[in-house]
Symmetry: D2
Subunit: 265 residues, 4 copies
């Protein structure tokens, strides 16, 4: 209890809190505010380094891309079900976050790992990406597994995916996982299957190209989806009666009609 009591019990490398200073990964938050985007700050706190503005813009586009997907995903249903019992906002949203797992959002990480395998195989073998992708897909099929991040039960041509790839291209980052994803699409297409990469797969490819660890990718999905969960819980609490039985499918949208951004926005 003498010397040992002055040695801190454990260490953290995320945020330093001192009187009148809060520094994330070394940067004073007061300096970051207004000077970097939230997308840059998210990258910084998760990766440890400050990305440039273009990468920040790509991060923001990914966060916007998955901000919500209606009331049908299990995260929205779980959050609304808990809210319906009179739970607080935070307890309800927490149930939504707890729903983001292998089968909900998990395709981001799984696709990133599978594309990473294709990228590595291509480097090792020196063969064409399409040929490597074909071999990997055959191996998956043989093992009765499926490629994550391709195809969607609602969207057969999701415009969010093309937009993400377009923005990724503008950043000039390494794009080896994106190329691997396109090779997979080619193989599916050559086999007569229309299984385009979906928004989860595109995020997996881009996050892998940015250097994120797969184990952290579902965290990005949580960050992106939180505003949607807050909106659903707030709507449930203010618009619906408590203890209702929430039909997961049979509901419809009655918000503002389709509209566009002003031309110069």
């Amino acid at each position: 209890m003498t010397e040992s009591s002055t040695e801190p019990a454990w260490k953290t490398a995320i945020t330093e809190v001192q009187p009148n200073h809060v520094r994330v990964r070394g940067y004073d938050i007061a300096e970051l505010m207004g000077n970097v985007s939230f997308g840059q700050a998210v990258y910084l706190i998760l990766r440890g380094e400050m990305p440039d503005e273009k990468v920040g813009r790509l991060m923001e586009a990914m966060l916007v891309a998955t901000i919500d997907h209606g009331a049908t995903p299990p995260s929205a249903l779980a959050a609304r079900t808990v809210a319906s019992t009179g739970a607080t906002l935070s307890a309800s949203v927490a149930a939504g976050i707890a729903s983001i797992n292998d089968h909900h959002g998990g395709a981001i990480e799984q696709c990133a790992r599978q594309l990473g395998h294709i990228v590595n195989q291509q480097k090792e073998t020196g063969e064409s990406l399409d040929r490597v992708a074909e071999a990997v897909l055959n191996d998956l099929k043989g093992a009765d597994q499926r490629m994550a991040g391709f195809g969607h039960r609602i969207h057969d041509h999701d415009p969010r995916t093309a937009r993400l790839f377009e923005l990724a291209e503008q950043t000039g980052i390494d794009n080896s996982h994106i190329q691997a994803a396109k090779a997979v699409e080619n193989v599916f297409s050559a086999g007569g299957k229309n299984l385009p990469i979906n928004v989860d797969g595109a995020m997996g490819a881009i996050l892998a190209d940015l250097g994120f660890e797969p184990a952290m990718m579902n965290g990005l999905f949580m960050i992106a989806r939180l505003p949607g969960l807050v909106a659903h819980v707030h709507e449930e609490k203010t618009r619906q009666k408590p203890m209702r039985r929430i039909d997961p499918v049979n509901h419809s949208y009655d918000g503002p009609a389709a509209r566009s951004l002003p031309a110069n926005s």
Copy 2:
């Protein structure tokens, strides 16, 4: 089961999902990506209307302002404690979110309500803001309650607060709650107390001036803090042994040294 089965059981006004279109409050997400900031998208999904770029920048500054506050707040400790048992990323982060309540983040909402009371009293009585603030503070004191959002146990002059007010001023929004906050500071100061508005109080004032409902404000705090929670859980899982007893105070920072943004960032 004839006509009634075609009528949707319930309605939501947040997001419309159709094949190849996901529209938040009427805007197609694919169009938002790269064209609006995440801060604008957060405002849109919570309020229903698209704010201009300046308000989006202010939203982003608020999100950056509270992205993390080290390992001592209960949300970080709860998330790390749960992670330490071998829980998944999502279950651990959910415990952190469930910790955001009246006593953690709640000062944003409470301060907004109290400042709103001052703003209303000023409108009704026509008296000076300082005089109204003094009366309200006296009432609180008489009821053995305290003004939320002023003073901090670590920071006596938090630079994040000044920065937020500076950015709010640049947007040109109505600033009646910010003025009320300054009146409260004046009254404390005249009474010999150094109780400057803190970052929670500043967010409460600004969010109220932006028109957010108080009941939704803790949601903003959750959105802002989520990246910090993901970072803490990931660090706990990758850097610490499982089932450790986490000292809430006796730990220190060993990340990058203090550093500044490049001049032109």
Copy 3:
């Protein structure tokens, strides 16, 4: 850091852990095992004193009474929805527990408080219980509130309620809240309404007669319902496909047919 470091930072009166001894409220757990029922142990840890066997049997009957109510209550639906995403058993069950709030299980506490009000009014005024109950119900009606714990959307004559009262009578405990509940039934009946006390109301009455604080009563409901939640999550994980959309109403029971305990059980 000298003397103060030897003084424990805080104290707890629940369980003492010493090498080879774990004592709950003073009783060594090894001695309790096999000698007291779980119902007695639950009462002990929550109230601080060991009840006799009869009260333990009543506690167990209440725990059995609410062990499950099928897949429709929000706690079961929330737990299954989270489980369906690939969550762990504990994260799924936690979502179920987080659903036990004012509108789900809360009638136990609300009814206990309202019956307590009738009991107190009767003591103060000396009037008959039926007359006091009538006045309290009129007050509630005037305030546009309703008496909790009476009536049920499925059961109009729930045999669990009669059984609980029968077992409570056998213990010989004070029964003032049970009497108040019967007075409420009388008033409803005299007014032509068939609103018998339901299982939540009966538990509220009995727990109040046993001396439990209302704020702890929902905890009893959580203890009772946990086995049901574990069963639902396990069934969801082993019998259903992941990421299904769970219909809260349109499902049916296909387990063992109705059966009875053997005569001498």
Copy 4:
């Protein structure tokens, strides 16, 4: 929407709810109340069949054995940390439940699986249990893994374990996993290590002998620990100030002094 709408969307084999009847695995709850113990009801809902009274008594002893272990386990700390922010009872308890995972409670399941391996190896090889146990422990050592459920950082001779085995013996159930556990103790002892089976290991052995699936065993731990979590949250809310920093080690017990059950209890 014609025929299909009359076919239930999915099925459950746990509980049948009909007007005035709630049947768990076929038994009407009203009949179970007062006639079977909660331990029997827990076994019934998890396993599908009603155990006899002796097994029910063993179930109750296991539930009592792990009802609490003080304020230091992560489930208690997580629940108290969340409670300290002003969370509801259910949200706080849920955080405690979410802490029951591989490293907290998980030894029950891991030990059951490892003992099951010894039991199976013994059947296949026909060698003595001690020899098989030795071989399995050597394999674990070679794979840099450890046997779960043996040894404890606080208790070197936990009386709860002996008590559980004594009660198990009284039921006359198959005891092959208990025998395997004793063989493991023998091997450790012969190697000069004092690593007696702990309460987690004993529960794993007994639950395996009772025929519980390993994947469900942590659910038993949750059921047992819930009353402890409710007690901790209630104490935190009523005895401590909000937003305190909870020292996980430096606290002490100030409840009733050690006491014994009355002789004839």
